[in-house]
Amino acid sequence: MKYLVIIILIMSLVSAPLFAAVGCDLNDPDRDVKRLFPDSTGYKTLYVTIAEKGGDALLRRVEERLGDKFKGLFETADVPYTMYQIFKGKDIIGYIHGVNQKGQYGGVQVVLALDIEGNIRAFYFQKLTNQYAKLLLDREFGKQFIGLNLKDFNDYDVVTGQAKAGSRMAAIKNPAPKAEEDFRAALRAAKKNLILCDEFLLGNKYLK
């Protein structure tokens, strides 16, 4: 009887309604995966949150690596991150991950495709609202990020928007100076994206 009561209690707790924060899924995963990894044969979707994977301690470490605090109503430890492991046969050939970032006029969604070493293969905005969005959405802007990894982003301060002189990050040009806020939001989103990939997918390969 004691066990029955315990089981009933656990089941009633498990079935409690949950309201989770919103993540950043790919708009069309089948299409997007094939476009970003043409030689892929499949993908696996992982859902992770900082709260579940390491709680406050992990949140602090991510913030420290980012060089900035998580802010506002929606940048919290319970945001579910949707990570895509890309397969060719049985082998993982890369990862895709998108993050939401507060922009000047709305949510900015920055999606990165990484190789298994954590180098950026592709950078693009899945969502961006700005009068000058066209310039930031241009493929040439995204191309500037190809080949960069978290080590390069460590040269970039997301709070001041300054990169170490002579670094690869310093070479990234903003094609829309009037959309500086969204340009910086994109760089912060990309750095945060890489940190989360390092934490959850690459086994903290880039952790100093």
Binding site: I8, L9, M11, S12, S15, A16, P17, F19, A21, V22, N27, G72, L73, F74, E75, N100, Q101, K102, G103, Q104, Y105, G106, G107, V108, Y124, F125, Q126, K127, L128, T129, N130, Q131, A133, K134, L137
Partner: protein, 399 residues
Amino acid sequence: MAKKISIYQIAYKNLLRKKTRSALTILGIGLSAWVLISLLGFNRGYESALNKDIDNMGFQVLVTAKGCPYEAATLMLKGGTGLRYMKESILADILKHKEVQQVTPQLMAAIFDPNRGESGGINAYLGIDPATFPAMKSYLKFKQGAWFTDPNAFEAVVGYEAAELEQREVGDKLLIPEKNVELKVVGILARSGTADDGTIFVPLRAVQKIFDKEGQITAAGIKVDKNANMTELENKLYDLPDVQVVSMAQVKTTIMSLVSTAKVMVFSIALIAILIAMLGVVNTILMSVLERFQEIGIIKSMGAMPWDVFRMIWTETIILCLLGGAIGIGFSFALSKITDILIRRLLPYTPTGSLIAINAQLGLITLAVVLGIGLVSGVYPAWRAARVRPLESIRSEGD
């Protein structure tokens, strides 16, 4: 001095002699009681959740221009096209009807944002009247901020999910693409579980100005007097030129008729479950009586009257039913959320509130029903036991 034992103790001890059989019978009764109380709870919960959903809409009747999509989701599906407009003066015509308590104008505006994502997307804004809309939707609570500071202000109140997607907070800006108009976010709504969670609200006058639709609206929400005849009002509203009337009363009737079909089926299943449990009780007690044929004979030869024996057997039945009923009721309280989830999966439409409304009153009703069934089920075995002839039963031992 010999210890006096009550009839209840004898009945209880008798049940303990065949533990597995008694436990299985109790479980059977428990499951029937669970089904019964869950169904009674569903009967109450579904309708009240549906009523709450309809009340949460703030208005029971929506008048739109003929062919106009009246909710954002439809508008999105249509790619932001298909909006039709009515003159704002229609509000005065609507207010003339005595059944109308309040009316609130709305202007839906949608615009294509070519830079949203890879292939663009639709942004929709709902222009509302700050004087009437918030009062009608009093259930809307704020996570941050408040309603607009001015009826003409270029401000926005954002539903929780829309705010989460747009990462907006009070003080942030929203941009209306193509128009290049900035809106200041003054409020973020808390989750309401309704379509309002995904809506961006802007003062009606501001939307009219931004989208060049002065004097025009796409819909009028009507709060109807509680005692009014809704059908009569609908017919009157159809006399207005080129409008369509969307009544929540119609929607409710349709949903309730769909659900009542399901209810009849499920109640039939419950009835069968109760009958099976009843037969189980009769079987268990009758077997117990037949097995104790000689024992009952001895009890009677020692002076027990037929009524004493009847009471003893009847008490066994009542104990089984009370325990089974209590377990079933306990299950229903503990697992109501799971039952809720299961029902949601089965039904084509379910309102947002709790579908299973179980309370102590329903628990007592169920217990009374189960006890009633037990009393009826116990009559025949108890009567058989009461009729046992002492000498005949004792003699049968050697047979």
